[in-house]
Protein backbone atom coordinates (compact mmCIF):
# COMPACT_ATOMS: atom_id res chain seq x y z
CA UNK A 1 0.00 0.00 0.00
CA UNK A 2 2.81 2.36 0.97
CA UNK A 3 4.35 2.08 -2.47
CA UNK A 4 1.05 3.12 -4.02
CA UNK A 5 0.89 6.49 -2.27
CA UNK A 6 2.99 8.43 -4.79
CA UNK A 7 0.82 6.98 -7.55
CA UNK A 8 -2.36 8.02 -5.79
CA UNK A 9 -1.04 11.57 -5.36
CA UNK A 10 -0.05 11.60 -9.00
CA UNK A 11 -3.43 10.21 -10.00
CA UNK A 12 -5.33 12.98 -8.30
CA UNK A 13 -3.06 15.50 -9.97
CA UNK A 14 -3.36 14.03 -13.46
CA UNK A 15 -7.11 13.79 -12.85
CA UNK A 16 -7.20 17.51 -12.13
CA UNK A 17 -5.39 18.26 -15.36
CA UNK A 18 -7.78 16.07 -17.34
CA UNK A 19 -10.67 17.80 -15.60
CA UNK A 20 -9.54 21.23 -16.76
CA UNK A 21 -9.48 19.99 -20.35
CA UNK A 22 -12.66 17.94 -20.04
CA UNK A 23 -14.71 20.96 -18.98
CA UNK A 24 -13.95 22.56 -22.35
CA UNK A 25 -15.34 19.52 -24.19
CA UNK A 26 -18.40 19.29 -22.04
CA UNK A 27 -19.26 23.02 -22.11
CA UNK A 28 -19.05 23.20 -25.88
CA UNK A 29 -20.99 19.97 -26.28
CA UNK A 30 -23.64 21.23 -23.90
CA UNK A 31 -24.35 24.26 -26.02
CA UNK A 32 -23.48 23.29 -29.61
CA UNK A 33 -23.83 19.48 -29.40
CA UNK A 34 -20.39 19.45 -30.97
CA UNK A 35 -17.34 17.41 -30.01
CA UNK A 36 -14.69 20.08 -30.42
CA UNK A 37 -11.88 17.94 -31.79
CA UNK A 38 -9.60 20.96 -31.89
CA UNK A 39 -9.69 21.32 -28.11
CA UNK A 40 -6.70 19.03 -27.50
CA UNK A 41 -4.71 21.10 -29.97
CA UNK A 42 -5.67 24.32 -28.24
CA UNK A 43 -4.26 22.66 -25.13
CA UNK A 44 -1.03 21.89 -27.00
CA UNK A 45 -0.73 25.46 -28.31
CA UNK A 46 -1.10 26.76 -24.75
CA UNK A 47 1.90 24.60 -23.82
CA UNK A 48 3.95 25.94 -26.74
CA UNK A 49 3.10 29.55 -25.95
CA UNK A 50 4.10 28.94 -22.34
CA UNK A 51 7.46 27.50 -23.39
CA UNK A 52 8.20 30.39 -25.74
CA UNK A 53 6.87 33.07 -23.42
CA UNK A 54 8.65 31.93 -20.28
CA UNK A 55 11.91 31.76 -22.22
CA UNK A 56 11.73 35.35 -23.37
CA UNK A 57 10.00 37.35 -20.67
CA UNK A 58 9.46 37.42 -16.92
CA UNK A 59 7.00 34.94 -15.56
CA UNK A 60 4.42 37.50 -14.42
CA UNK A 61 4.05 38.51 -18.08
CA UNK A 62 4.49 35.05 -19.58
CA UNK A 63 1.63 33.38 -17.72
CA UNK A 64 -1.03 35.98 -18.54
CA UNK A 65 0.22 36.04 -22.13
CA UNK A 66 -0.16 32.28 -22.47
CA UNK A 67 -3.65 32.44 -20.99
CA UNK A 68 -4.76 35.31 -23.20
CA UNK A 69 -3.26 33.83 -26.37
CA UNK A 70 -5.06 30.54 -25.75
CA UNK A 71 -8.36 32.27 -25.09
CA UNK A 72 -7.99 34.28 -28.29
CA UNK A 73 -7.23 31.09 -30.20
CA UNK A 74 -10.35 29.35 -28.86
CA UNK A 75 -12.51 32.37 -29.58
CA UNK A 76 -11.13 32.70 -33.13
CA UNK A 77 -11.64 29.01 -33.91
CA UNK A 78 -15.32 29.34 -33.00
CA UNK A 79 -15.82 32.53 -35.03
CA UNK A 80 -14.01 31.28 -38.13
CA UNK A 81 -14.75 27.56 -38.25
CA UNK A 82 -18.00 26.97 -36.35
CA UNK A 83 -20.08 30.14 -36.45
CA UNK A 84 -20.58 30.13 -40.25
CA UNK A 85 -21.95 26.57 -39.87
CA UNK A 86 -24.59 27.44 -37.27
CA UNK A 87 -27.47 26.19 -39.39
CA UNK A 88 -25.53 23.43 -41.15
CA UNK A 89 -25.99 19.76 -40.26
CA UNK A 90 -24.02 18.70 -37.18
CA UNK A 91 -21.81 16.44 -39.27
CA UNK A 92 -20.40 19.46 -41.14
CA UNK A 93 -19.54 21.10 -37.86
CA UNK A 94 -17.74 17.99 -36.68
CA UNK A 95 -15.74 17.72 -39.90
CA UNK A 96 -14.83 21.38 -39.57
CA UNK A 97 -13.57 20.64 -36.04
CA UNK A 98 -11.36 17.82 -37.33
CA UNK A 99 -10.05 20.19 -40.00
CA UNK A 100 -9.21 22.83 -37.41
CA UNK A 101 -7.40 20.21 -35.34
CA UNK A 102 -5.11 19.31 -38.24
CA UNK A 103 -4.69 22.94 -39.25
CA UNK A 104 -3.43 23.84 -35.78
CA UNK A 105 -1.08 20.87 -35.67
CA UNK A 106 0.35 21.78 -39.05
CA UNK A 107 0.74 25.44 -38.18
CA UNK A 108 2.54 24.35 -35.02
CA UNK A 109 4.71 22.06 -37.14
CA UNK A 110 5.59 25.01 -39.35
CA UNK A 111 6.44 27.25 -36.40
CA UNK A 112 8.43 24.71 -34.39
CA UNK A 113 9.98 22.98 -37.37
CA UNK A 114 8.53 19.76 -36.02
CA UNK A 115 11.06 19.74 -33.18
CA UNK A 116 9.60 19.12 -29.72
CA UNK A 117 10.18 22.27 -27.72
CA UNK A 118 11.96 21.54 -24.45
CA UNK A 119 10.22 22.55 -21.26
CA UNK A 120 12.95 24.11 -19.10
CA UNK A 121 11.52 24.68 -15.72
CA UNK A 122 9.11 27.32 -17.07
CA UNK A 123 7.40 28.18 -13.80
CA UNK A 124 10.13 27.62 -11.22
CA UNK A 125 8.17 27.66 -7.97
CA UNK A 126 5.73 24.91 -8.95
CA UNK A 127 8.54 22.71 -10.27
CA UNK A 128 10.27 22.53 -6.88
CA UNK A 129 10.44 19.12 -5.28
CA UNK A 130 8.50 18.66 -2.07
CA UNK A 131 7.82 15.71 0.20
CA UNK A 132 4.34 14.53 1.09
CA UNK A 133 3.34 11.36 2.98
CA UNK A 134 6.89 10.17 2.61
CA UNK A 135 6.77 10.51 -1.16
CA UNK A 136 8.71 13.18 -2.99
CA UNK A 137 7.09 14.95 -5.88
CA UNK A 138 6.95 18.28 -7.67
CA UNK A 139 4.94 21.01 -6.02
CA UNK A 140 2.69 21.20 -9.10
CA UNK A 141 1.34 17.75 -8.26
CA UNK A 142 0.05 19.02 -4.94
CA UNK A 143 -1.26 22.31 -6.32
CA UNK A 144 -3.14 20.90 -9.32
CA UNK A 145 -6.14 19.26 -7.60
CA UNK A 146 -6.72 22.29 -5.35
CA UNK A 147 -6.45 24.76 -8.20
CA UNK A 148 -8.78 22.57 -10.27
CA UNK A 149 -11.40 22.39 -7.54
CA UNK A 150 -11.19 26.13 -6.94
CA UNK A 151 -11.68 26.89 -10.64
CA UNK A 152 -14.57 24.43 -10.85
CA UNK A 153 -16.27 26.10 -7.89
CA UNK A 154 -15.90 29.51 -9.55
CA UNK A 155 -17.25 28.10 -12.81
CA UNK A 156 -20.25 26.43 -11.19
CA UNK A 157 -21.03 29.66 -9.35
CA UNK A 158 -20.77 31.57 -12.62
CA UNK A 159 -23.15 29.20 -14.36
CA UNK A 160 -25.72 28.96 -11.58
CA UNK A 161 -25.74 32.46 -10.17
CA UNK A 162 -24.85 35.00 -12.84
CA UNK A 163 -26.73 36.41 -15.77
CA UNK A 164 -24.31 35.07 -18.37
CA UNK A 165 -24.50 31.67 -16.67
CA UNK A 166 -28.28 31.77 -16.87
CA UNK A 167 -28.00 32.64 -20.56
CA UNK A 168 -25.64 29.71 -21.09
CA UNK A 169 -28.05 27.31 -19.41
CA UNK A 170 -30.97 28.66 -21.42
CA UNK A 171 -29.09 28.46 -24.71
CA UNK A 172 -27.96 24.92 -23.94
CA UNK A 173 -31.59 23.86 -23.60
CA UNK A 174 -33.31 25.82 -26.35
CA UNK A 175 -31.54 28.17 -28.78
CA UNK A 176 -34.67 29.68 -30.20
CA UNK A 177 -36.46 30.47 -26.96
CA UNK A 178 -33.22 31.80 -25.49
CA UNK A 179 -33.08 34.24 -28.41
CA UNK A 180 -36.67 35.28 -27.75
CA UNK A 181 -35.54 36.34 -24.27
CA UNK A 182 -33.08 38.69 -25.98
CA UNK A 183 -30.04 36.48 -25.33
CA UNK A 184 -27.35 37.00 -27.96
CA UNK A 185 -26.65 33.42 -28.82
CA UNK A 186 -23.31 34.11 -30.50
CA UNK A 187 -21.91 35.89 -27.46
CA UNK A 188 -22.98 33.00 -25.27
CA UNK A 189 -21.28 30.48 -27.54
CA UNK A 190 -18.13 32.61 -27.67
CA UNK A 191 -18.19 32.73 -23.90
CA UNK A 192 -18.17 28.93 -23.63
CA UNK A 193 -15.14 28.78 -25.91
CA UNK A 194 -13.39 31.47 -23.90
CA UNK A 195 -13.99 29.62 -20.63
CA UNK A 196 -13.07 26.24 -22.11
CA UNK A 197 -9.82 27.57 -23.63
CA UNK A 198 -8.87 29.41 -20.46
CA UNK A 199 -9.22 26.26 -18.37
CA UNK A 200 -7.34 24.22 -20.98
CA UNK A 201 -4.52 26.78 -20.82
CA UNK A 202 -4.31 26.47 -17.03
CA UNK A 203 -4.38 22.69 -17.38
CA UNK A 204 -1.68 22.88 -20.03
CA UNK A 205 0.71 24.86 -17.83
CA UNK A 206 0.28 22.37 -15.01
CA UNK A 207 0.51 19.36 -17.30
CA UNK A 208 3.62 20.27 -19.27
CA UNK A 209 5.53 21.25 -16.12
CA UNK A 210 5.83 17.48 -15.60
CA UNK A 211 7.00 16.75 -19.14
CA UNK A 212 10.35 17.30 -20.81
CA UNK A 213 8.96 18.84 -24.01
CA UNK A 214 5.91 20.01 -25.94
CA UNK A 215 5.53 18.40 -29.37
CA UNK A 216 2.85 19.24 -31.95
CA UNK A 217 1.03 16.02 -31.15
CA UNK A 218 1.26 16.50 -27.38
CA UNK A 219 -2.37 17.59 -27.20
CA UNK A 220 -3.61 14.31 -28.64
CA UNK A 221 -3.42 11.91 -25.72
CA UNK A 222 -4.47 14.21 -22.85
CA UNK A 223 -7.18 15.62 -25.15
CA UNK A 224 -8.55 12.17 -25.90
CA UNK A 225 -8.44 11.10 -22.28
CA UNK A 226 -10.18 14.26 -21.15
CA UNK A 227 -12.78 13.54 -23.80
CA UNK A 228 -13.24 10.04 -22.41
CA UNK A 229 -13.58 11.60 -18.95
CA UNK A 230 -16.28 13.94 -20.25
CA UNK A 231 -18.19 11.04 -21.82
CA UNK A 232 -17.68 8.89 -18.73
CA UNK A 233 -19.09 11.62 -16.49
CA UNK A 234 -21.93 12.35 -18.91
CA UNK A 235 -21.09 14.79 -21.67
CA UNK A 236 -22.74 18.14 -21.14
CA UNK A 237 -22.39 17.91 -17.36
CA UNK A 238 -19.64 19.86 -15.58
CA UNK A 239 -19.60 17.85 -12.34
CA UNK A 240 -19.63 14.74 -14.52
CA UNK A 241 -16.54 15.84 -16.42
CA UNK A 242 -14.68 16.64 -13.21
CA UNK A 243 -15.58 13.41 -11.43
CA UNK A 244 -14.89 11.39 -14.58
CA UNK A 245 -11.48 13.03 -14.98
CA UNK A 246 -10.44 12.34 -11.39
CA UNK A 247 -11.57 8.72 -11.65
CA UNK A 248 -9.66 8.19 -14.89
CA UNK A 249 -6.54 9.92 -13.57
CA UNK A 250 -6.56 7.79 -10.42
CA UNK A 251 -7.23 4.53 -12.23
CA UNK A 252 -4.41 5.14 -14.70
CA UNK A 253 -1.90 5.83 -11.96
CA UNK A 254 -3.04 2.92 -9.82
CA UNK A 255 -2.58 0.61 -12.82
CA UNK A 256 0.90 2.05 -13.28
CA UNK A 257 1.58 1.53 -9.58
CA UNK A 258 0.60 -2.11 -9.86
CA UNK A 259 3.20 -2.54 -12.56
CA UNK A 260 1.00 -2.61 -15.65
CA UNK A 261 2.10 0.73 -17.12
CA UNK A 262 1.69 -0.66 -20.64
CA UNK A 263 -2.03 -1.07 -20.09
CA UNK A 264 -2.85 2.25 -18.45
CA UNK A 265 -3.88 3.96 -21.72
CA UNK A 266 -5.70 0.87 -22.92
CA UNK A 267 -7.68 0.85 -19.69
CA UNK A 268 -9.00 4.37 -20.32
CA UNK A 269 -10.25 3.54 -23.78
CA UNK A 270 -11.67 0.19 -22.69
CA UNK A 271 -13.55 2.14 -20.06
CA UNK A 272 -14.98 4.35 -22.82
CA UNK A 273 -16.29 1.31 -24.67
CA UNK A 274 -17.79 -0.18 -21.52
CA UNK A 275 -19.49 3.06 -20.51
CA UNK A 276 -20.92 3.54 -23.99
CA UNK A 277 -22.34 0.02 -23.92
CA UNK A 278 -23.64 0.01 -20.36
CA UNK A 279 -24.62 3.61 -19.63
CA UNK A 280 -24.29 5.79 -22.72
CA UNK A 281 -25.43 8.92 -20.87
CA UNK A 282 -22.51 8.59 -18.44
CA UNK A 283 -22.49 9.01 -14.68
CA UNK A 284 -24.27 12.36 -14.59
CA UNK A 285 -25.84 12.26 -18.05
CA UNK A 286 -28.16 15.12 -18.96
CA UNK A 287 -31.13 14.76 -16.73
CA UNK A 288 -34.48 15.05 -18.37
CA UNK A 289 -37.02 16.78 -16.20
CA UNK A 290 -40.34 15.18 -16.77
CA UNK A 291 -43.74 16.11 -15.58
CA UNK A 292 -44.46 14.25 -12.37
Amino acid sequence: MRELIPYLINGVSVGGQYALIAIGYTLVYGILRLINFAHGDVFMVAGLVMVYATASMPIYLAIPLALIATVILGFTIERVAYKPLRTAPRMSLMISAIGVSYLIQNLAFYLTGGVPQPVNNPIPWISDTVAIFGASTKRVTIITPFLTIALVIVLVYLINHTKIGMAMRAAAKDFETAQLMGIKINSVISMTFVIGSFLAAVGSMLYFTNYPSVAITSGGMPGLKAFVAAVFGGIGSIPGAVVGAFIIGLCEEIIKGLGYTTFSDAFTFALLIVILCVKPTGLFGEKVTDKV
Binding site: M166, A170, K173, D174, L180, T289
Partner: protein, 236 residues
Amino acid sequence: MLKIENLHVAYGGIQALRGISLEVPDGKIVTLIGANGAGKSTTLRTITGLVKAVSGSITWNGEELLGKPIDKIVTTGIALSPEGRRVFPDMTVLENLKIGAYLRKDKAEIEKDIKWVYSLFPRLEERSWQLAGTLSGGEQQMLAVGRALMSRPKLMMLDEPSLGLAPLVVQDIFSIIREINRQGVTVLLIEQNANMALKIADYAYVLETGKITISGSGAELLADERVREAYLGKND
Protein backbone atom coordinates in the same frame (compact mmCIF):
# COMPACT_ATOMS: atom_id res chain seq x y z
CA MET B 1 -48.85 50.42 -33.78
CA LEU B 2 -47.55 47.39 -35.59
CA LYS B 3 -48.05 47.48 -39.33
CA ILE B 4 -47.27 44.63 -41.71
CA GLU B 5 -47.30 45.39 -45.41
CA ASN B 6 -47.15 42.92 -48.25
CA LEU B 7 -45.00 40.46 -46.30
CA HIS B 8 -43.57 37.50 -48.17
CA VAL B 9 -41.78 34.69 -46.34
CA ALA B 10 -40.44 31.45 -47.80
CA TYR B 11 -38.76 28.40 -46.28
CA GLY B 12 -36.60 26.44 -48.67
CA GLY B 13 -38.68 27.25 -51.73
CA ILE B 14 -42.06 26.91 -50.04
CA GLN B 15 -44.05 30.12 -49.84
CA ALA B 16 -45.25 30.37 -46.26
CA LEU B 17 -46.62 33.91 -46.49
CA ARG B 18 -47.72 35.40 -49.79
CA GLY B 19 -48.02 39.08 -49.26
CA ILE B 20 -50.00 39.59 -46.10
CA SER B 21 -50.86 43.03 -44.73
CA LEU B 22 -52.28 43.67 -41.30
CA GLU B 23 -52.36 46.21 -38.52
CA VAL B 24 -52.27 45.89 -34.77
CA PRO B 25 -53.39 49.21 -33.26
CA ASP B 26 -52.14 50.19 -29.79
CA GLY B 27 -54.14 48.92 -26.86
CA LYS B 28 -56.20 46.44 -28.87
CA ILE B 29 -56.44 42.68 -29.03
CA VAL B 30 -55.97 41.47 -32.57
CA THR B 31 -56.24 37.82 -33.47
CA LEU B 32 -55.06 35.80 -36.39
CA ILE B 33 -57.00 32.61 -36.95
CA GLY B 34 -56.52 29.89 -39.48
CA ALA B 35 -55.86 26.20 -39.99
CA ASN B 36 -52.61 24.36 -39.37
CA GLY B 37 -49.91 25.47 -41.78
CA ALA B 38 -51.72 28.64 -42.83
CA GLY B 39 -48.71 30.72 -41.79
CA LYS B 40 -49.84 32.04 -38.41
CA SER B 41 -46.73 31.07 -36.48
CA THR B 42 -44.54 32.18 -39.36
CA THR B 43 -46.07 35.64 -39.10
CA LEU B 44 -45.17 35.94 -35.42
CA ARG B 45 -41.74 34.43 -35.91
CA THR B 46 -41.01 36.92 -38.67
CA ILE B 47 -42.06 39.83 -36.47
CA THR B 48 -39.61 38.75 -33.72
CA GLY B 49 -36.83 38.20 -36.23
CA LEU B 50 -36.52 34.42 -35.84
CA VAL B 51 -37.44 34.02 -39.49
CA LYS B 52 -36.15 36.21 -42.32
CA ALA B 53 -38.60 37.72 -44.77
CA VAL B 54 -38.23 37.67 -48.55
CA SER B 55 -39.87 41.05 -49.05
CA GLY B 56 -42.36 43.45 -47.53
CA SER B 57 -42.15 45.49 -44.39
CA ILE B 58 -42.99 45.28 -40.71
CA THR B 59 -43.02 48.62 -38.93
CA TRP B 60 -43.46 49.12 -35.21
CA ASN B 61 -44.35 52.70 -34.29
CA GLY B 62 -42.89 53.76 -37.61
CA GLU B 63 -39.62 51.86 -37.15
CA GLU B 64 -38.71 49.10 -39.62
CA LEU B 65 -38.19 45.77 -37.84
CA LEU B 66 -37.13 43.57 -40.75
CA GLY B 67 -33.40 42.91 -40.70
CA LYS B 68 -32.99 43.80 -37.03
CA PRO B 69 -31.47 41.21 -34.67
CA ILE B 70 -33.88 39.56 -32.26
CA ASP B 71 -32.51 41.19 -29.11
CA LYS B 72 -33.01 44.66 -30.63
CA ILE B 73 -36.59 43.77 -31.48
CA VAL B 74 -37.22 42.52 -27.93
CA THR B 75 -35.79 45.80 -26.62
CA THR B 76 -38.32 47.80 -28.62
CA GLY B 77 -41.06 46.21 -26.50
CA ILE B 78 -42.21 43.15 -28.41
CA ALA B 79 -42.45 39.80 -26.65
CA LEU B 80 -43.50 36.38 -27.93
CA SER B 81 -44.92 33.57 -25.87
CA PRO B 82 -44.00 30.73 -28.23
CA GLU B 83 -46.07 27.83 -29.43
CA GLY B 84 -45.80 24.80 -27.18
CA ARG B 85 -44.87 27.02 -24.20
CA ARG B 86 -41.13 26.28 -24.38
CA VAL B 87 -40.39 27.04 -20.74
CA PHE B 88 -36.86 26.14 -19.62
CA PRO B 89 -37.59 22.79 -17.93
CA ASP B 90 -34.57 22.55 -15.64
CA MET B 91 -34.78 26.09 -14.35
CA THR B 92 -37.05 27.07 -11.51
CA VAL B 93 -40.22 29.07 -12.08
CA LEU B 94 -38.50 32.12 -10.64
CA GLU B 95 -35.47 31.71 -12.90
CA ASN B 96 -37.75 31.39 -15.92
CA LEU B 97 -39.33 34.70 -14.98
CA LYS B 98 -35.96 36.33 -14.40
CA ILE B 99 -34.67 35.24 -17.77
CA GLY B 100 -37.71 36.90 -19.32
CA ALA B 101 -36.23 40.16 -18.02
CA TYR B 102 -32.81 39.31 -19.44
CA LEU B 103 -32.32 42.58 -21.30
CA ARG B 104 -33.48 44.79 -18.45
CA LYS B 105 -31.11 46.32 -15.92
CA ASP B 106 -33.57 47.98 -13.52
CA LYS B 107 -33.38 45.48 -10.66
CA ALA B 108 -35.97 47.09 -8.43
CA GLU B 109 -38.48 47.28 -11.27
CA ILE B 110 -37.84 43.65 -12.16
CA GLU B 111 -38.68 42.64 -8.58
CA LYS B 112 -41.90 44.62 -8.87
CA ASP B 113 -42.79 42.93 -12.14
CA ILE B 114 -42.18 39.49 -10.64
CA LYS B 115 -44.75 40.43 -7.98
CA TRP B 116 -47.06 41.67 -10.73
CA VAL B 117 -46.79 38.36 -12.62
CA TYR B 118 -47.39 36.48 -9.36
CA SER B 119 -50.50 38.55 -8.78
CA LEU B 120 -51.75 37.61 -12.25
CA PHE B 121 -50.85 33.95 -11.71
CA PRO B 122 -50.92 33.15 -7.97
CA ARG B 123 -50.23 29.51 -8.84
CA LEU B 124 -46.75 30.46 -10.05
CA GLU B 125 -45.90 32.09 -6.75
CA GLU B 126 -46.77 28.89 -4.88
CA ARG B 127 -44.43 27.01 -7.19
CA SER B 128 -41.68 29.57 -7.57
CA TRP B 129 -38.93 27.15 -6.48
CA GLN B 130 -40.21 24.22 -8.48
CA LEU B 131 -38.50 23.24 -11.72
CA ALA B 132 -40.57 24.43 -14.67
CA GLY B 133 -40.47 20.96 -16.23
CA THR B 134 -42.49 19.58 -13.34
CA LEU B 135 -45.41 21.99 -13.83
CA SER B 136 -48.68 20.94 -15.44
CA GLY B 137 -49.41 22.07 -19.00
CA GLY B 138 -51.63 24.91 -17.85
CA GLU B 139 -49.08 26.12 -15.33
CA GLN B 140 -46.36 26.00 -17.97
CA GLN B 141 -48.53 28.14 -20.23
CA MET B 142 -49.00 30.63 -17.41
CA LEU B 143 -45.25 30.65 -16.91
CA ALA B 144 -44.63 31.21 -20.63
CA VAL B 145 -47.01 34.17 -20.59
CA GLY B 146 -45.49 35.47 -17.35
CA ARG B 147 -41.99 35.12 -18.74
CA ALA B 148 -42.94 37.10 -21.83
CA LEU B 149 -44.48 39.79 -19.62
CA MET B 150 -41.21 40.14 -17.71
CA SER B 151 -39.67 42.04 -20.63
CA ARG B 152 -42.37 44.70 -20.05
CA PRO B 153 -43.68 44.41 -23.58
CA LYS B 154 -45.87 47.00 -25.24
CA LEU B 155 -46.90 44.32 -27.72
CA MET B 156 -47.46 40.80 -26.45
CA MET B 157 -47.71 38.07 -29.06
CA LEU B 158 -49.15 34.72 -28.04
CA ASP B 159 -48.82 31.66 -30.21
CA GLU B 160 -51.60 29.13 -29.50
CA PRO B 161 -51.85 29.66 -25.75
CA SER B 162 -54.77 27.21 -25.53
CA LEU B 163 -52.94 24.35 -27.20
CA GLY B 164 -53.47 21.07 -25.37
CA LEU B 165 -55.12 22.62 -22.32
CA ALA B 166 -58.36 21.64 -20.59
CA PRO B 167 -61.32 23.95 -21.36
CA LEU B 168 -61.39 25.42 -17.86
CA VAL B 169 -57.69 26.25 -18.00
CA VAL B 170 -58.19 27.81 -21.45
CA GLN B 171 -60.81 30.11 -19.96
CA ASP B 172 -58.37 31.13 -17.24
CA ILE B 173 -55.67 31.91 -19.77
CA PHE B 174 -58.05 33.96 -21.89
CA SER B 175 -59.30 35.98 -18.96
CA ILE B 176 -55.67 36.74 -18.08
CA ILE B 177 -55.02 37.83 -21.67
CA ARG B 178 -57.92 40.23 -21.35
CA GLU B 179 -56.59 41.46 -18.03
CA ILE B 180 -53.12 42.05 -19.48
CA ASN B 181 -54.72 44.02 -22.30
CA ARG B 182 -56.75 46.08 -19.83
CA GLN B 183 -53.48 47.03 -18.17
CA GLY B 184 -52.34 48.61 -21.42
CA VAL B 185 -50.52 45.86 -23.30
CA THR B 186 -51.39 45.43 -26.97
CA VAL B 187 -52.05 41.78 -27.81
CA LEU B 188 -51.56 39.86 -31.03
CA LEU B 189 -53.05 36.43 -30.55
CA ILE B 190 -52.83 33.36 -32.73
CA GLU B 191 -55.38 30.67 -32.20
CA GLN B 192 -56.91 27.54 -33.61
CA ASN B 193 -59.57 27.91 -30.96
CA ALA B 194 -61.26 30.53 -33.14
CA ASN B 195 -64.37 30.77 -31.02
CA MET B 196 -62.52 31.90 -27.89
CA ALA B 197 -60.14 34.14 -29.80
CA LEU B 198 -62.85 35.98 -31.74
CA LYS B 199 -64.82 36.60 -28.56
CA ILE B 200 -62.05 38.62 -26.97
CA ALA B 201 -60.61 40.18 -30.15
CA ASP B 202 -61.19 43.78 -31.19
CA TYR B 203 -60.13 42.91 -34.68
CA ALA B 204 -59.44 39.64 -36.44
CA TYR B 205 -57.83 38.30 -39.57
CA VAL B 206 -58.32 34.91 -41.19
CA LEU B 207 -55.19 33.44 -42.72
CA GLU B 208 -55.45 30.73 -45.39
CA THR B 209 -52.35 29.19 -47.00
CA GLY B 210 -50.29 32.32 -46.59
CA LYS B 211 -52.91 34.88 -47.52
CA ILE B 212 -55.39 36.93 -45.54
CA THR B 213 -58.84 36.08 -46.86
CA ILE B 214 -61.24 37.68 -44.38
CA SER B 215 -60.87 40.45 -41.84
CA GLY B 216 -63.18 42.37 -39.57
CA SER B 217 -64.05 42.98 -35.96
CA GLY B 218 -64.23 39.94 -33.71
CA ALA B 219 -68.01 40.14 -33.58
CA GLU B 220 -68.29 40.46 -37.36
CA LEU B 221 -66.20 37.38 -37.94
CA LEU B 222 -68.10 35.42 -35.32
CA ALA B 223 -71.22 36.13 -37.38
CA ASP B 224 -69.59 35.61 -40.77
CA GLU B 225 -71.01 32.60 -42.59
CA ARG B 226 -67.67 31.53 -44.11
CA VAL B 227 -65.85 31.76 -40.78
CA ARG B 228 -68.61 29.86 -39.00
CA GLU B 229 -68.43 27.09 -41.53
CA ALA B 230 -64.67 26.74 -41.72
CA TYR B 231 -63.52 27.54 -38.20
CA LEU B 232 -66.38 27.45 -35.75
CA GLY B 233 -67.86 24.15 -36.86
CA LYS B 234 -71.42 25.40 -37.09
CA ASN B 235 -73.39 24.49 -40.15
CA ASP B 236 -76.81 25.68 -39.05
